[in-house]
């Protein structure tokens, strides 16, 4: 697959990307996966459920730690990336592509504009790493 839209990031390190077909993909950033290390388990959001921005929608567990996934904007889950059940390491290998977590509908796409774009997110990471 190829997620080809622009990526927007939340401070809690999730990304969301709008694609040509108006679907939104969500996942966790490359920085987040590298901080977690080897991912071994993903607990997914509920398909069909509506989540508010900031709601906990799942968990990503690595060998050493567990981290929560939050909704970067208010959204409704359409489907989850069930490939991660057998291949959770896709999150480490292709966090912006085959390692996406779920597909969603976003009712108010202006929410996405309130997130950080790629450059802003990179500066954000640099600032928290110092």
């Amino acid at each position: 697959m190829a997620i080809n839209g622009e990526f927007y990031f939340a401070k809690s390190h999730e990304w969301i990307s709008k694609n040509a077909d108006d679907k939104f993909y969500i996942g966790i950033s490359d920085f987040a996966q590298s901080e977690l290390g080897d991912v071994v388990y993903v607990s997914f959001p509920e398909v069909g459920k509506v989540y508010e921005k900031g709601d906990k929608i799942g968990e990503i567990e690595s060998v050493k730690s567990v981290s929560e996934i939050y909704a970067p904007v208010s959204l409704k889950i359409i489907s989850v990336n069930s490939k991660l059940n057998d291949n959770p390491e896709l999150i480490n290998r292709q966090p912006y592509d085959a390692g996406f977590v779920a597909e969603a509908e976003v009712s108010d796409s202006s929410d996405v504009d309130g997130l950080m774009d790629k450059n802003a997110y990179e500066s954000f990471i640099t600032s928290i790493h110092e």
Binding site: G37, D38, Y41, E61, V63
Partner: protein
């Protein structure tokens, strides 16, 4: 992380250069992994890996009465081993609780070295120093010295580690000084060392002498190398420069933990602490029956185990973590997780736990659950080691 209290091993900059994820552990900045815990783990099981374990403590015990001292402070029959041999032992408090688990190296009847857990080095040294004063008051000749800051410690582990070490480590020609250490016994050739024996190795290309032991914490064939702090970087880089001899890669503390846990080797702070006695932990074979030692009297009053250590695997994918609860089939709490991790060799979660009810026979413990953040995950008792059926690739 608090930079004011964390120490750095001599290899800190090498780890940073190699892109390691650095964490605070036992008062040190240490590499958790370089690239991937799972890949590093499997590299050790299949080929080899090198660990910086310079954070561990080394305490020298010297003097005419060193043998009586080590026999009193440590639970195992330490003085009975031969010069050039190593023994695993516990240090107990007067109540029989475990202060630390250690290995003790014997150079002679008057010269020993205890290798202790990093987090416990100050505590162990204070304890031993106090015992030294008591010994001296009684007219004995013994001194203890904490030399941890002068020693770098590398561990080279894995089935192919011998290919690397046997090619690069020459034997010392003269008996006597070996880097930081004095050998008064005839050191064995490196290739003849058996498990829990040590000798002197000379790395000729870089002109470094080091104490080398056949020991480790992975369940694999391997070596531990004690070298002066100043020469640690040179030796580390030299071994890695020759990585092709054994497909050697650097391994972080993450894989050190998964490797030791698959081999069911205890970790202080998880399987062991001062509230746990050696019977609880299943370590009674390290208690001497022929001599007195600190804690022995208290242990003789312990008729029944207070807790029982079990090992288990999970059918689900969530990882059990330290201190989570174990529930029986009626969801009644029956114990607490000691260690929990993912087993890279088996590709499923594994753990150990202390059952608070010692009437439960682990062999008949069926249908029990781990409370992982409110999910009750089904578990099954396993007799370790966990990597027994691992097929090397």
């Amino acid at each position: 992380m608090d930079a004011r209290v964390n120490k750095r091993t001599p290899l800190y900059s090498e780890h940073v250069k190699a892109g390691a994820k650095i964490v605070s552990f036992a008062g040190f900045f240490m590499p958790l992994y370089y690239k991937s815990i799972i890949e590093e783990h499997l590299n050790v099981r299949n080929d080899s890996g090198i660990f910086d374990i310079s954070h561990m403590g080394e305490i020298i015990i010297k003097g005419r009465d060193a043998s009586s001292f080590v026999d009193y402070v440590f639970t195992a029959d330490v003085s009975k081993i031969k010069d050039g041999e190593i023994i695993y032992s516990l240090i107990l408090n007067e109540k029989g609780g475990i202060i630390d688990d250690v290995t003790v190296f014997k150079f002679s009847d008057s010269d020993y070295m205890a290798v202790v857990n990093a987090a416990n080095t100050p505590k162990d040294f204070s304890w031993m120093h106090y015992q030294q004063i008591e010994f001296q008051k009684a007219g004995n000749n013994v001194t203890v010295e904490n030399i941890s800051e002068t020693v770098g410690l590398l561990s080279v582990q894995g089935p192919k580690s011998r290919d690397l070490i046997y090619s690069l480590a020459s034997d010392a020609v003269d008996i006597g000084k070996c880097g930081l250490f004095d050998f008064k016994f005839g050191a064995k050739p490196v290739k003849e060392l058996k498990h829990f024996e040590f000798s002197c190795a000379v790395f000729k290309d870089i002109n470094v002498e080091a104490l080398i032991s056949r020991s480790g914490y992975t369940g694999e064939f391997g070596f531990e190398i004690f070298v002066s702090a100043e020469k640690t970087v040179v030796l580390w880089n030299y071994l890695l420069k020759n990585s092709r001899l054994s497909n050697l890669i650097p391994i972080g503390l993450g894989a050190r933990d998964t490797l030791r846990f698959e081999a069911a080797l205890p970790l202080y702070g998880h399987e062991l602490d001062e509230t746990i006695n050696p019977y609880d932990a299943g370590l009674e074979k390290y208690l001497s029956t022929t001599k007195n030692f600190i804690g022995k009297e208290a242990l003789s009053d312990i008729k029944n185990k207070e807790k029982r250590l079990i090992f288990f695997k999970l059918s689900g994918k969530q990882i059990p973590r330290h201190l989570q609860r174990i529930l029986d089939k009626n969801l009644k709490p029956i114990g607490c997780i000691a260690s929990g991790t993912y087993s890279p060799s088996n590709k499923f979660p594994i753990g150990s736990a202390y059952l608070s009810d010692t009437d439960i026979d682990p062999l008949f413990l069926k249908d029990f659950f781990i409370d992982i953040r409110g999910n009750f995950e089904k578990a099954e008792v396993v007799v370790p080691p966990f990597h027994r059926n691992f097929k090397r690739s």
